[in-house]
């Protein structure tokens, strides 16, 4: 059997499969179905300083080969995550986890990252500067290289753990943002977050989503995500976590050939809760089919 191990910023993963933030909660729902310790790791639900109720309903719409969401960072706030969610998570998941962090100011990002940095379960901090569904925060930091660098620097000052900056595709030039994060000290970048989209209900002639717009995810965005991973890999030296519509072992291989060190799986978890387990089980055969002995060897192999 081929070697599935990858190294993500100095931490060994049994395989490169990582459920993406917001599609896996804190893991328990999935632990009912399978032993989630088979995962490389996972990125838990985006966490902010204060609790957030999220956006009004409807928050979900459908597209061809994908879905739109405008959840709006519903989460119980960092203190509740640390006191309630992490201890529960420790019972079902025994590997380092990725803490996903959002904020509405540079100071908030730093504050939340600082608190999560102190948690031994947390292996990496994933800084989400790309949420398209909140106003005055999230994506506004991810669409400007200077702001992205500022958040990165602020977070790096308060943590000793690897910092992954999660990038938005809703920009003209994602490479310049990735480069700015790298120069500011980011240890890795993850891309892409969802693509800003919308649907209109023909009967009511109104937007389907209460938030008007939402983020598109699912197979519809895979080629777009792949192209962006490819472009960022050409310019940036730090590892890339590739995501966007990944739903099979073949997609994982393709994303790694484009330049990803590890791969996140998002929307697929929501329609097929066993998706990540099935992808991990399918990887050895897919590797054999394409003559891959060591998965980590193929990162950027298409360049």
């Amino acid at each position: 059997m081929g070697d599935l191990n990858v190294n993500l910023c100095g931490i060994e993963l049994d395989n490169p499969i990582i459920p993406a933030s917001g599609t896996f909660g804190y893991g328990y729902e999935f632990a009912e179905l399978y032993d989630i310790n088979c995962l490389g790791t996972f990125s838990f639900k985006g966490t902010t300083l204060e609790s957030r109720a999220g956006n009004p309903l409807p928050r979900i719409a459908e597209g061809n080969a994908g879905m739109l969401n405008a959840v709006g960072l519903q989460n119980p706030g960092v203190d509740a995550v640390i006191s309630e969610e992490l201890p529960k998570l420790a019972k079902v998941f025994h590997k380092p986890v990725i803490a996903n962090v959002s904020g509405f100011s540079v100071a908030e990002y730093a504050e939340v990252c600082g608190r999560l940095d102190a948690e031994p379960q947390v292996g990496w901090l994933e800084v989400n500067i790309s949420c398209p569904n909140v106003h005055g925060g999230g994506m506004s930091f991810g669409t400007d290289p200077k702001a992205a660098a500022e958040v990165t620097r602020a977070v790096k000052r308060v943590t000793t753990k690897p910092v992954i900056v999660k990038l938005s595709p809703n920009v003209t030039d994602i490479v310049s943002i990735a480069k700015a994060c790298e120069n500011a000290g980011a240890d890795a970048v993850s891309l892409i977050n969802t693509v800003m989209s919308m649907r209109i209900d023909l009967k009511t002639r109104r937007p389907v989503l209460a938030n008007t717009t939402g983020g598109l995810s699912g197979p519809a965005i895979f080629p777009l995500a792949l192209r962006m991973v490819w472009q960022v890999y050409e310019t940036v030296k730090i590892p890339i976590l590739g995501l966007g519509g990944v739903s099979s072992a073949e997609d994982v291989i393709e994303m790694m050939l484009a330049g990803a060190t590890a791969v996140q799986v998002g929307a697929a978890n929501l329609v097929d809760p066993n998706a990540c387990r099935d992808i991990i089980e399918a990887l050895p055969k897919a590797m054999e089919r394409y003559g891959i002995e060591k998965l980590s060897d193929i990162t950027g192999g298409a360049h």
């Binding site: 729902e29 999935f30 409807p58 979900i60 459908e62 959840v71 929501l270 809760p273």
Partner: protein, 244 residues
């Protein structure tokens, strides 16, 4: 929650728009009336949620109205076809929350989950009464099924073309200990405004995953935020906060 492949055993129209679908497979995760399933349909990305209308040894029934792309596909699905189904979703009704003589108040396809509920309440020795609300005579379904359980069954139609003319609330002036309801939110709200007795309400919201992961269907309640798919779909009348 369980994922499994089910075989379509039967798919038949109940009215012009409403059909009943029987799926055969492993039903072990379907524990309580009021729970729902998520069906995956070819060509559609998101699964579609449906309340369980009845459960047997190796099959369950859903009743659905054709309203869009997903339900149109489902209406046309043939016996023998295979469907990928997530079963055992949601909390389901609390059989002990509404006393010994509860009303079962259904509106349109909201009647569906009340059928299995009626059977389970009877098994516990309770004496439910069914109030089934429809728009017009042609929409009426399952009156016979409830009658066959030997429980009092009252049908209302908005236009008076069948049964009691008016809304389900027009048939509530009777003795009862509490209520279980499923149907349009305006109907459920009217029911709650009509009575102070304890109630259990089953909600239908646009969902993403259906099992609590995506936070796509969260509502505010008096007991905090609740995911309709995971902490619901059944909420108690005391905790509901009406949006309008």
């Amino acid at each position: 929650m369980k994922q499994g492949i089910f075989t379509v055993a039967e798919n038949r129209p109940l009215t012009e728009k409403v059909s009943s679908l029987v799926l055969r497979g492993d039903v072990s995760a379907i524990e309580r009336p009021g729970q729902f399933v998520q069906l995956r349909l070819d060509g559609l990305f998101l699964r579609r949620p449906f309340s369980v209308c009845d459960r047997a040894e190796d099959s369950f029934t859903v009743v659905f109205e054709t309203v869009g792309k997903g339900t149109a596909k489902l209406r046309d699905i043939q016996p023998g076809a295979k469907l990928d189904v997530l079963t055992g979703l949601g909390n389901g009704f609390d059989l002990n929350a509404c006393g010994n003589a509860p009303l079962l108040i259904g509106g349109g396809t909201g009647v569906s989950p009340l059928y299995w509920l009626a059977k389970e309440l009877l098994r516990q020795g309770k004496r439910p009464t069914a109030l089934l609300g429809f728009n017009t005579a042609e929409d009426v379904f399952y009156e016979d099924a409830f009658h066959a359980l030997d429980i009092e069954t009252v049908v209302t139609t908005v236009d008076g073309s069948y049964g009691v003319k008016g809304f389900v609330t027009d048939a509530m002036n009777r003795e009862y200990t509490g209520f279980y309801t499923c149907g349009p939110e305006a109907m459920m709200k009217a029911v709650c405004e009509h009575t102070d007795k304890p109630g259990q309400l089953s909600f239908d919201k646009r969902m993403g995953c259906g099992f609590g992961a995506c936070m796509g269907c969260t509502v505010k309640t008096k007991n905090g935020l609740k995911r309709i798919c995971k902490d619901g779909p059944v909420l108690s009348s005391e905790e509901v906060l009406w949006e309008t």
